[in-house]
Symmetry: C2
């Protein structure tokens, strides 16, 4: 029951209608990990530069985070990202990005992680995702994320990589870009066919405040987002969603469409915490009680009375 | 157990990426009625001009449609609307509109309809909605729809009318316009407070392909749309939704948040039929078997495994 995540660890600057924050923690691997720790042990793989502030080291310390896969690279600089959200709080506009350590050589996956059962490859160059995956020994479930950049400029490599993984989590804009279909059900059906033959073929198309469309093999469903007035900073919502989703999946012995639906609900709830505050603040404040309570509320709200 | 609807009956011209159709049946009252007939008897109130083609008279003939409230006005012309949808199949762009009979004197509600238990006032001038409502004797549930035109240009009259009704069904754009809130949960909460004090206060904010956000008193929930690849013409989806919703409500002895949620599912399913073809074609083809089957599929898809 182990979950490996490869992704970015960064220092962010974020401007939303609720304020501006500089030098705050971010990065896909951190959001993913702090969402997943509530469900299972997380094996973190990522690189920071020697400039990574020691006051942020707490983020690698959690009973359910194994950070032996964290590399602090001498002579390198940590990934930095700056973004801005308008009133609608939908997609961020990237205002500055310094990839730094992310475009140097990729991290090495520790031998102790090689037996991981579930793997999440956060969005990066598809060749790099595959190179990381090749260091894991026969994982049972491999899910990746991607971005418009890779869809637009590295389509061939991306298509090749999809044939080797069991699932893809992406947003509606990316799904339309990847499939050239406007209808999201059509897009989802097409994405299923791009994935590894014989695997469970999981697809989640995230639609932000509108929830998601998802499929486990040919079992398709839609789920709303957790309805909330408290949206302070959407950064990391997608990675927190993936963390809750795969944390929940990893904690189960067997997988099925119903387990997957519950996992999507878990991802939805973890994202709902993340957006309530800047950086990892609200996600880090979440605990077994608050998560359990919101999960029950959400599942009841969506389903009670319909079956 | 009677449901009264007041709304338009029109001749439409529609262009979608799937084709163009002229001289087809449309209008809120027709879509509403043909969705509601599957659940209860519908008392139709509307006016057409003397130009209304007799080959369209079949639309008033159904075991569950009482059309004594239909007026064929001598010397007047039927409402005509033309609209176009782009690839995304979201909002229609109105390309032409002839209000004709809709801006003449309003229809009279037959005395036989005055005892209706549930009333739906399709979108029109709020004063007209109230004038129609005044002809009904103590209905148990009154729901209305509105449009950006009335929100922008007749806000005071609209606000006054909302104080006399139990529920409002509107789309996300209209909800934001009405409340000046971007967050739809906040918008919904504000709309609840605008409705008749002491009533059940039902609000549905429709989001097209993204489903809806709804509340029965303080019981709030979100529901996805029925996921489908088959979207030919979205015209009438909102009125069919309202027809399914209120038809289902009318068929129940008592109302509760759970009954309302089931009613929203019924509305969702009726809308999913409407969009599959032009005009009322797919809605008229729907029957007890196909509706029941899709309703069970949808409710299971949304809810199975979550409670």
């Amino acid at each position: 029951m182990s979950l490996l995540v490869t992704g970015s660890i960064g220092i962010d600057k974020v401007v939303t209608p609720f304020g501006a924050k500089e030098n705050i923690l971010g990065g896909s691997a951190l959001y993913f990990s702090w969402a997943a720790v509530h469900f299972c042990k997380v094996y973190l793989v990522g690189v920071v530069g020697e400039d990574f502030p020691s006051e942020f080291d707490f983020v690698f310390v959690h009973p359910n985070i194994d950070a032996r896969g964290l590399e602090r690279r001498k002579g390198s600089k940590t990934f930095r990202w700056a973004g801005r959200y308008d009133q609608t709080m939908n997609e961020a506009t990237t205002t500055a990005v310094d990839l730094n350590v992310l475009i140097e050589k990729s991290p090495v996956i520790p031998a102790e992680y090689a037996q991981s059962r579930v793997v999440f490859l956060a969005a990066t160059h598809p060749d790099l995702q595959m190179q990381l995956l090749s260091q894991v020994h026969k994982p049972k479930l491999v899910i990746s994320d991607t971005r418009d950049l890779w869809i637009k400029n590295h389509r061939a490599e991306l298509m090749k990589s999809l044939k080797k993984i069991d699932g893809l989590v992406l947003n509606d804009f990316e799904a339309r870009l990847l499939t050239e279909k406007v209808n999201l059900v059509s897009a989802l059906q097409q994405i299923r066919k791009l994935l590894k033959p014989g695997g469970p073929r999981l697809v989640v198309i995230k639609k932000g405040e509108h929830g998601c469309l998802a499929a486990y093999d040919d079992s398709l469903f839609a789920m709303p987002a957790y309805p909330t007035e408290k949206v302070v900073d959407p950064t990391g919502a997608g990675d927190s969603f993936a963390g809750g989703l795969l944390g929940y999946m990893t904690a189960q012995k067997r997988w099925s469409p119903v387990i997957f639906k519950q996992a999507v609900a878990a991802g939805t709830i973890m994202a709902s915490f993340t957006i309530e505050d800047f950086s990892l603040e609200a996600l880090r404040r979440a605990n077994r009680r608050t998560i359990g309570s919101r999960m029950r509320e959400f599942r009841k709200m969506v389903a009670h009375g319909l079956v």
